[in-house]
């Protein structure tokens, strides 16, 4: 049983301007654009009192959430049969108001031995989910703080009034604008989903003789989603061209996946030699059916059924893919010292083109446990083993982009009611497979009675004929195209270090550190021509995740206009894409996690998990929208960082002079919106207490424990400032949630 609360992490949420700051900045931008103050759009009027409204949209959309979970499980059995049954109920009222989830689920697992040769395993899981959903888009940060979601009389706001230029007689031209009120949509619309999921599998195995075992497995995964949406005619979502009609949608989707695996295992031990292996066939299919109906034109908001709409429409779609795999494995072990494994696998998928329907995977691996050798004797080293493997993996990754080019028939090609067809992906006959060669080398060493255990793995994956989606010339009728672009190499190291720092009778402290580093390099590109896509560039010798951006040079203290570096490193005030350079990569230098756990008298447990990233860059297009230097200020609230703008000659400002509705190119893609990814997070902290067994036993309880868990507590990034946004606020804009929960675990 567990209950918890969740709330928005104030420290990492994106900070926007408050009403006063917004009005100051908006007026300043407006004057900077040469606007006449008499026609400032957000001037108080009978409909809006902009100067006195102070709306915190985060408060309007977010609240403290609550979760609770109850689990019950029982297990038992005898030699012939074992069972385990569990049931749970979960409820989550989320921090984003208007979202709620309830789930009931049941799992049962049975294992029956008919005799010493025939065994049956049976697993069933069923769950039922009810969701109420609401998404405010980006309104929680982009809505203007000077507009309230309510009118003076408490009803939901539908309009606001602004000045738009002047009438020919010089008087301000007042216009009424629609206000798309998400709060009204949350309260008046329905958006609910009911999901039923069922998963079952049966495995029957039969030991033919001492060496061979035959097993057959069949699994089904069935999901059904029923979704009902109603857009009320009281707000804009249910109004069409000024007429309140109401829209209702009723969607039903069914997904059925099944798979079956037939395997023949063998296992033979001769002295110190052991040979084992498996051959098998796996078949499966994914199928889906989606039917949807929509309706509009309702009598009033009380009738919310598609069938009672004056206009309704429906559609249905189906999808099916099948897959088949042949697999085989052979392994050889000698005296616990030498291990050798050979693998071969062939995968097919109906999505792939006819010529490339199957992909083959081959690999070989070996390991050597040195510490088991006779010649090895050390008091310090307990385990010392080496391992290595090599394999290839072919992949066609074409997805639904058939290399022959595809025409599809759909609604979007209809013309005057006649159903039509159009090209949905262009012909791409030269596309071929990509192949990855995977090399792994590693060792494990454990010292001082396994007090320190280090596992290290080096890998090098080389992919040739790499398939990548590239921007295409629009002349081929598509925006992107799949190409074999060249060869890349990924190499890296992964280290896991487990240390028992203190091990006393009553107290222990353990630390586990994970660290990874990956480096990516393009080894060759066809035609040797660097390729650009979006803000990235592919060039030989660089990472595939290399940014290709104009370098930001800050704000000119003389006039407040933006500056960049040109390709030669000189400052320029003209933005030009010819000045892009490729010198920053997204790959971090090092990333991983650190966890520390403490145990006192086997009664008190404390655990803290931290995650870290060092180095690497991230481009935030979100940051671009909210640091628009006046360009979007009339529609969208802006980052508090915009307060550091240029105002007077000589100002060493971080943000350029804001100009209402005018682009000085300052928001065009540049390193201004590139952030160093270095960060440290406290992911999880837990504390638990186990009650004294003697006490609990006397109450007829086998064990009783309580635990307090907190998730997403804290984030640190460089350049953090209390009243400004830094990388942690700019990642995507959606605020992180902190959860704190208390649980009780009772075992009878």
């Amino acid at each position: 049983m567990r209950h918890g609360i969740s709330f928005i992490n104030k420290d990492t949420r994106f900070k926007v301007l408050n009403a006063n700051e917004y009005l100051t900045l908006a007026k300043e931008s407006y004057l900077n654009s040469g606007g006449d103050p008499a026609y400032f759009p957000y001037t108080d009027n009978d409909m809006n009192s902009y100067s006195t409204t102070q709306t915190d949209w985060y408060d309007a959309f977010f609240d403290v959430g609550a979760t609770s979970q109850i689990n019950l499980s029982a297990s038992g059995g005898n030699e012939k049969a074992v069972y385990r049954i569990s049931g749970s109920y979960f409820e989550d009222k989320m921090t984003l108001k208007g979202n709620k989830q309830q789930r009931i689920s049941i799992t049962t697992n049975n294992n029956i031995n008919f005799n010493d040769k025939l065994n049956l395993n049976f697993l069933l899981t069923g769950s039922y989910n009810t969701n109420t959903t609401f998404t405010p888009g980006d309104d929680y940060y982009s809505n203007l703080p000077i507009i309230s979601p309510y009118n003076d009389d408490g009803t939901f706001r539908q309009y606001y009034k602004v000045i738009e230029g002047s009438n020919p007689d010089g008087s301000p031209n007042w216009v009424q604008k629609r206000f798309f009120n998400e709060i009204a949509e949350r309260e008046q619309n329905d958006n609910g989903q009911k999901a039923f999921s069922f998963k079952g599998s049966v495995q029957l195995s039969y030991q033919l003789n001492e060496v061979f075992k035959l097993s057959s497995q069949f699994g089904v995964d069935y999901n059904n989603y029923a979704e009902k949406i109603y857009q009320s005619m009281k707000n804009w979502s249910g109004i069409n061209s000024g007429v309140p009609v109401g829209f209702a949608y009723d969607n039903n989707a069914t997904y059925l996946n099944w798979n079956t695996i037939q395997r023949l295992n063998f296992n033979k031990q001769i002295g110190a030699h052991r040979l084992s292996g498996v051959v098998g066939l796996e078949l499966g299919a994914n199928q889906s059916n989606v039917t949807s109906a929509s309706g509009s034109g309702f009598v009033n908001d009380h009738v919310r059924l598609v069938s009672l709409a004056s206009f309704s429409d429906g559609s249905a779609s189906e999808y099916k893919t099948t897959k088949a795999s042949y697999l085989s494995q052979l392994s050889y072990h000698y005296g616990g010292r030498y291990n050798l494994v050979l693998n071969a696998r062939k995968d097919g998928n109906s999505n792939f083109g006819k010529n490339v329907q199957y992909a083959t995977f081959l690999s070989a691996g070996a390991s050597w446990n040195l510490h088991k050798e006779d010649f090895f004797s050390s008091k310090v080293i307990d385990i010392f083993s080496l391992k290595g493997s090599y394999g290839t993996n072919g992949n066609s990754r074409f997805g639904n982009k058939n290399p022959d080019g595809v025409y599809s028939i759909s609604d979007s090609y209809q013309y005057g009611g006649t159903i039509g067809a159009g090209i949905s992906s262009g012909a791409n006959p030269d596309l071929s497979w990509e192949t990855t060669y995977i090399t792994n080398l590693g060792f494990r060493i454990a010292l001082w009675g396994k007090r320190l255990d280090i596992t290290t793995e080096f890998y090098r994956n080389k992919t040739t004929d790499l398939i990548s989606t590239l921007d295409a010339s629009r002349t081929i009728g598509d925006t992107t195209v799949l190409r074999n672009i060249g060869a890349i190499e990924n190499k890296g190291i992964e280290v896991a270090l487990e240390s028992t720092n203190i091990q006393k009778e009553n107290f222990s402290w353990k630390t586990k550190i994970l660290a990874s580093r990956n480096r990516n390099e393009i080894l060759s590109l066809y035609n040797d021509v660097p390729k650009n896509y979006g803000i990235s560039r592919l060039q030989v010798g660089s990472s595939i995740n290399t940014f290709y951006l104009v370098r930001w040079a800050g704000v000119d203290p003389r006039d407040g206009y933006p500056m960049w570096y040109d390709a030669n490193g000189n400052i320029t005030k003209d933005y030009s894409v010819d000045n892009r350079v490729a010198n920053k990569i997204a790959d971090p230098d090092l990333f991983g996690s650190i966890s520390n756990s403490f145990n006192y008298k086997d009664t008190y447990f404390f655990n803290i998990l931290m995650a870290y990233t060092i180095g690497g860059y991230s481009f935030s297009s979100f940051a671009r929208d909210v640091n628009s230097d006046g360009l979007n200020i009339m529609d969208d609230n802006q980052s508090v960082n915009q307060l550091d703008r240029w105002q007077n000659e000589g100002d060493l400002a971080l943000a350029p002079k804001p100009i209402w509705g005018v682009s000085t190119s300052s928001v065009r893609n540049s390193t201004r919106f590139l952030y160093n990814k270095t960060n440290l997070k406290i992911r999880n902290v837990s504390f638990s207490y186990l009650f004294d067994k003697k006490v609990t036993k006397s109450l007829g309880i086998e064990s009783l424990s309580m635990s307090l868990i907190a998730n997403n507590l804290w984030v640190w990034t460089p350049y953090d400032k209390a009243n400004r946004n830094s990388f942690k606020n700019n990642i995507e804009g959606y605020p992180q949630e902190t959860e704190v929960s208390l649980g009780v675990n009772v075992k009878f």
Binding site: D411, D478, V577
Partner: protein, 471 residues
């Protein structure tokens, strides 16, 4: 136990044997290109698909751009408006999802759909000779669409035909078949682009020669081809040919008069003066949002309303909402809840009134003042709801008439995607009214601002592409 063993074995065997065709699943609603065009049904479905793609670019930024960048519109700037940078002449190659990128992308996507039909048509003709008439009709329509798309692209992304003496300045790529993804397609000169347009239209005209008269202007027809030829020759300043083709259309299509004229825009009529229009049934174009009545993103500028108010009887005043000053040309209002109609945002591309204006302009240029005045009087009589005899037109010099025709074109073709091109092909300066909401009040001809830049994404991947001056 034996039984179970046998069952498992049989089960396994049956899976092994059925495996060869297990992966043969036909994707639903999708076919590879060559299979799709292997029978008549494919090309029959590709035709509406191609029209629909042409509609897609017309319905969004393409139709709005020349009016936005002209002097007859006032844009709402305090709200989100896709056309702001064209209005303020701050277009930027990186604008991928508004005018700069979308016109390019969508028009070229339409072109690929058209070219695929033209590529597979000959093979189908060989395979199904009995369908010759139908296939000829399809080819003629496809050729018209190909000419139209090239003409539209060259007007947006290149300076007008008469920008250089021999039209040797950069135009747009000429595509008569779909290039492969390895090709780097260069821009051709404006002259070469017009040559291709002319060639396609002439061929289409020949193919239409034996066809029946079109029943609906929703599809290309002989009239549509002649009308586009007339417009093309006007841009090329080939006055004789402009007169020839305009006359062919005028002789076959009467002007819509009175309420019929208004209904051409306000209602869903089949029989009107339009020569080619795009069917907007069940479409949701951006023009609908742009010219909506509730909170319009653009309204008629005072310059336009003043022009129209020069004669208070002008029927075209009824096509502008008196209160909001928005265009009613694309509005198909919902009458009431009970009778919700499908969206029918039809877009008229070519119509007879324009042919009179083309012919009048060509006559003027050839100093054939009387004939020019005759054409103008016919239009004025319709617009002022009177007879030609009651119209007095005391403009007699070439210059006076040219100014009058420019004004008449502004009034007649407003919101229909002409204004900027009329300014640039007649080499005028753009002069907006004093209280325009745009940051740009005036641009002197010639200017690099009068064309949109080639989108950056195209520049990045296509090594042969050359950017327009000034971007």
């Amino acid at each position: 136990m034996k039984k179970i063993k046998t069952t498992i074995t049989i089960l396994s065997l049956s899976f092994f044997t059925s495996c060869s065709d297990f992966l043969e699943v036909d994707p639903i609603g999708k076919t590879t290109i060559s299979v799709f065009f292997s029978d008549m049904d494919g090309i029959r479905a590709a035709l509406p698909g191609a029209y629909s793609k042409v509609y897609d670019y017309y319905g969004d930024e393409f139709l709005l751009y020349p009016d936005t960048a002209g002097d007859m519109l006032q844009l709402a700037t305090a709200v989100e408006n896709n056309m702001i940078s064209q209005y303020n002449f701050t277009s930027n190659p990186a604008e991928e999802i508004t005018a700069v990128g979308m016109i390019w992308r969508n028009a070229l996507e339409a072109l690929v759909n058209v070219n695929n039909m033209l590529e597979y048509q000959p093979a189908l003709l060989e395979k199904f000779p009995s369908n010759e008439q139908e296939l000829t009709q399809i080819k003629a329509e496809a050729l018209f669409l190909r000419a139209l798309i090239h003409f539209d692209l060259v007007r947006v992304y290149a300076q007008p035909y008469n920008y250089t003496n021999d039209a040797s300045h950069l135009g747009v790529p000429v595509l008569t078949k779909t290039p492969s993804s390895d090709d780097h397609v260069p821009r051709k000169t404006v002259n070469e682009v017009y040559q291709q347009i002319e060639k396609d239209l002439k061929e289409a005209a020949l193919l239409f020669e034996n066809s029946d008269d079109a029943t609906s202007s929703f599809y290309a027809s002989k009239n549509a081809v002649h009308a586009l030829l007339a417009r093309m020759y006007l841009y090329m300043e080939n006055w004789e040919q402009a007169i020839n083709y305009a006359s062919l259309v005028i002789d076959s299509t009467p002007l819509s008069q009175g309420q019929d004229y208004l209904d051409m825009f306000l209602k869903i009529e089949n029989d009107d003066e339009s020569l080619f229009k795009l069917n907007g049934n069940l479409k949701t174009p951006y023009i609908n949002k742009f010219y909506n009545q509730e909170t319009p993103l653009a309204i008629a500028s005072t310059k336009l309303t003043n022009l129209l108010n020069e004669n208070t009887e002008d029927i075209r005043l009824d096509l502008i909402d008196t209160e909001t000053l928005t265009s009613l040309k694309f509005l198909k209002p919902f009458s009431n809840i009970g009778e919700i109609k499908d969206n029918d945002y039809h877009i008229i591309v070519l119509r007879a009134s324009e042919m009179y204006l083309i012919r009048a302009e060509a006559y003027t240029e050839l100093s054939n003042i009387d004939l020019a005045k005759e054409d103008l009087k016919i239009l004025m009589a319709r617009n002022y709801q009177t007879t030609t005899a009651a119209i007095t037109l005391n403009k007699n010099t070439q210059e006076e008439l040219k100014t009058l025709i420019d004004k008449e074109r502004s009034k007649e073709l407003c919101f229909e995607g002409h204004r900027l091109y009329d300014i640039t092909r007649t080499q005028q300066n753009l002069i907006r009214e004093a209280n325009t909401t745009s940051t740009v009040k005036e641009i002197t001809y010639p200017s690099t601002k009068f064309v949109l830049p080639i989108p950056q994404k195209e520049m990045d991947v296509n090594k042969a592409m050359i950017q327009n001056d000034g971007y």
